[in-house]
Symmetry: C2
Subunit: 546 residues, 2 copies
């Protein structure tokens, strides 16, 4: 039994592109005499289709896609994910299904039982959970077909009260198939391998796992589809952050020595880097844009954003603009120019002093003798925002946002100013990690000027401003933020961990009272287990730790 | 048996305020010799607490609140909503519970079985569904205690496969209690009465229903708690959009002739108006702000927004600013000034021409001979945005957004310009409904100048611009949008309804490709069954009907 795994970058709602990629893979698998080809969860629609699932027209298009694909499946069987209508009177209108196709026809549909509904997942919003369990009989083999979360209710603190694989196991299957849409975070590949190995060891069956690859707005899918033999050894691991296609022989996988050695665990920062590059690349490609614009300050956030964008789009397709004011230091301009030269990209300098003066003139009679404060700082940031958007509008760039996660957390940024952008590249990367990314980018050659990495961070919106004037050191701040945001620890737990009570209270208050700013922030490429955006849902008007 | 219903405006996470309001109601009920007092769903935390529910610290604070409330419940019993930990090893960590308190102690917890997870609801994100059913025995009566959605699986197209009340009914209860957090839309009060009447008729039991009242950011709770006798007659209906407290005698409710006559069905536009006024009022109060700023164009959207804000905050607490450019018509300025005078509020005029010129000077050498286009229009809108935000920053106003739902749908608005604001007042009100609101506001006296209502809509961002140059007539546009957004009809269904194919395709494409703008829009007060914001979740990068 030869089994092909197709790891594909789908495009949500683009049935033409998805069907064409699927059919090409089927053709290739047939040429190579595969008996079965496996695609990912909700492959025909792309994942996550979100509320498009509530449109009958959309589900009908999925159905037509499956029918068209089925016709290609002569001399080969296919497993492919698609939403399907629930024919029952009671329950939600849809199932999240794995369709089994052979002899050119849909033979059976196998629905997802465990519907993730936490963090970025909303599956119970759309789908009825499955309650019937049937293995697939094909060419003398019994296949236990599961969908993503169906295999994840193993280990401590089970979130669901059933285990679909326990039910399928009663029918004596020969191997497990899991089709998935499992998004990347820097821990996910290791967790995934651990979860699947636990399943394989529990059921003593080999496992074929097919994941999505590619970016869907903020969600990054890293691929890394897996074949695990019945001893629990990872026989093969498909490419990360790239499409891939391979064929495996069921009989021989148990004899193959696993190629992956335990030592080859990818480094967190390298993973984040590669994920962000894919995220920027796919965002532009799928929206049909080629060029990015961004404000370059001479600081580390815009420097790292530029380097990542240049890697994703090509150095001639990134256009940094320096927007100095009276408070910009000469070293900032020098550092920014040096960076643009190192990258080899076009750039421009537009001084914002005259425009800011013009705003201040118009507002003078209202502000009277009131002192310079946050208002005037924000006018600078917003003037930059208007200029970048004007260039973006006139020439068809997408503006990249350069804020980091620490700033987004505590609201250190100007709404409608430096918080502008179509996409936030670093919004899920803490400031201390941004420094690590800079060093990673400089690994073989100094791209980001060392001075940018070494100087103290400053917004340069007033004379001699330093971030440390208004925030705790990033080393401490980021640790508190991680405990609060990723691990959801409360103030008592943080203080018990040894953090200063006043700093803890001030930090949590800043996080909670700045929810209104994050609500209007651009989508953020998600690289951590808990990113701001669709996976973290907070009330704006509330009074908790604030 | 005397039963008190307490309809309260809770404050998410503000345990001090919530507990204090609850204790005051208990005190009042005790003074009036009530046997039982009923509060709403998740009363102690406020609704919806969203991801605060994932913090153990937050749940512990709910527990402490309940313990403190329980001590007041001597000589009276209470039913009150709170999240509680799920003690079982398997399943989600929490239940959404109704706590029964008597003799100063928590006697039992009754968990919600049907967890809404559609539109603005995310309850399966947090809660394990209940599977055990027990009536409460109290003073010789058996109480069937249900939570909101538990009674809603009645009628056509049931979303769930069980009916909790069927289970409770087997234990021969004497009456039904339903505690809820059922948000307003202009249809909801009628639907609610119909659903509860169906339940009462099915089970032949009287029903006491207690809802939230007040705004929680975008969600508006209208109150309207109900008492229905066993014949299915609405005996009483508590206040809409206001806190309320009443005591009913169980024995006599079946003898009371219903006060509410069928004819008194509230008018849709009046409901929307009152809901928006409450929404603005509560948003400011709960955030601790008093004053609103907004840009006044002379057009109908900013006029209606101003009138609603003045009603909510007082005419001296709204501060409209006229921001004319070279393209502003004199009638626009006149209309705006007339409106400010009618409202009796302070206002100012700040001409933006000089600032726009200053932007154009700085950008001239880049734009060269390229023609005036959307870029220059956006610069005007963004200049206005910067000025309004500067005044807001300097003096502590909240900027109100004035976009309507039709504009938000098709992306007719400038991101970081007129899309700015802490809160969108009209973002769930179609343009044709904005006109109806204006007439409603003018019902007894001309507040909004008739010329503002009668002139053709224009953005005034280029010479002689009219909205009808770029969009279909609002009469047609709004009908298409309603079919697509509220009813989720696809292009084929719309064309079959008789709409022009080209206009349908253009409109749906505009809606889908402008998702990126709405992602960064302010929270929108929700008055319809399907508002933009947390209840409509769409991918940004996608290719469907676009």
């Amino acid at each position: 039994m030869k089994i092909a795994l197709a790891q594909i970058n789908y495009f949500i709602g683009n049935f033409e592109s998805n069907v064409s990629k699927i059919k090409n893979a089927i053709k290739k698998a047939k040429q190579q005499k595969a008996d079965l080809i496996i695609f990912a969860e909700l492959a025909v629609s792309g994942y996550p289709p979100r509320d498009f699932l509530e449109f009958d027209d959309f589900i009908n298009k999925c159905k037509m896609a499956i029918e068209s694909i089925a016709k290609e499946c002569t001399d080969i069987a296919a497993i492919i994910g698609s939403p399907v209508f629930n024919p029952e009177y009671q329950g939600k209108d849809l199932y999240n299904s794995a369709i089994f196709i052979s002899d050119g026809k849909v033979k059976s549909s196998h629905h997802k039982s465990l519907l993730p509904n936490y963090d970025i997942f909303d599956e119970y919003r759309y789908f009825e959970p499955n309650r019937e369990f049937n293995v697939i009989n094909y060419k003398g083999y019994k296949i236990a077909l599961t969908i993503c979360e169906d295999l994840w209710n193993i280990g401590n603190d089970p979130m669901y009260t059933i285990n679909p694989m326990d039910e399928l196991y009663k029918q004596n299957p020969d191997f497990i198939v899991n089709i998935a849409a499992s998004p990347f975070n820097y821990n996910q590949a290791e967790i995934r391998k651990s979860i699947f190995t636990q399943n394989v060891i529990k059921y003593k069956l080999p496992l074929f796992y097919v994941n999505h690859v590619g970016a869907q707005t903020e969600l990054l899918f890293d691929g890394g589809s897996l074949v695990i033999n019945k001893s629990g050894e990872v026989v093969d691991e498909m490419k990360y952050f790239k499409e891939d296609f391979k064929i495996y022989d069921l009989k021989s996988i148990n004899e193959i020595q696993p190629k992956i050695t335990k030592s080859k665990k990818a480094e967190k920062i390298a993973l984040i880097h590669d994920a962000l590059v894919m995220g920027v690349k796919n965002y532009f490609e799928k929206l049909g844009f080629k060029k990015a614009i961004l404000g370059l300050s001479g600081g580390i956030d815009s420097a790292v954003t530029l380097a990542i964008a240049a890697k994703a789009l090509g150095n001639k397709n990134v256009y940094p603009v320096l927007l100095p004011s009276e408070f910009s230091s000469s070293h900032s301009i020098d550092d920014a120019l040096q960076l643009a030269e190192n990258i080899g990209c076009p750039y421009d300098i537009i001084n914002i002093e005259e425009i800011c003066r013009s705003f201040n003139n118009s507002l003078n009679s209202f502000f009277k003798e009131l002192p310079f404060d946050l208002t005037e700082e924000n006018i600078q940031a917003r003037t930059r925002g208007v200029i970048l958007m004007a260039l973006s509008n006139k020439f068809g760039y997408i503006l990249l946002n350069t804020s980091n996660k620490s700033e987004a957390a505590v609201g250190y940024g100007t709404l409608y100013g430096d918080m502008n952008g179509g996409l936030s590249v670093l919004g899920d990367v803490y400031k201390t990690e941004v420094f690590q990314l800079a060093n990673h980018i400089n690994k073989f050659k100094e791209i980001i000027p060392v001075n940018t990495i070494e100087k103290p961070p400053s917004a340069e919106l007033r004379p001699n401003q330093k971030v440390s004037d208004s925030l705790p050191d990033y080393e401490i701040l980021d640790k508190i933020l991680y405990q609060y945001i990723e691990l959801r620890k409360g103030p008592k737990e943080l203080i018990n961990q040894g953090f200063d009570e006043e700093i803890v209270k001030k930090t949590l208050k800043l996080v909670n009272t700045n929810e209104y700013k994050r609500y209007q922030a651009p989508p953020i490429l998600r690289v951590s287990p808990k990113a701001f955006g669709i996976g973290r849902r907070m009330p704006i008007v509330a009074k908790y730790l604030s």
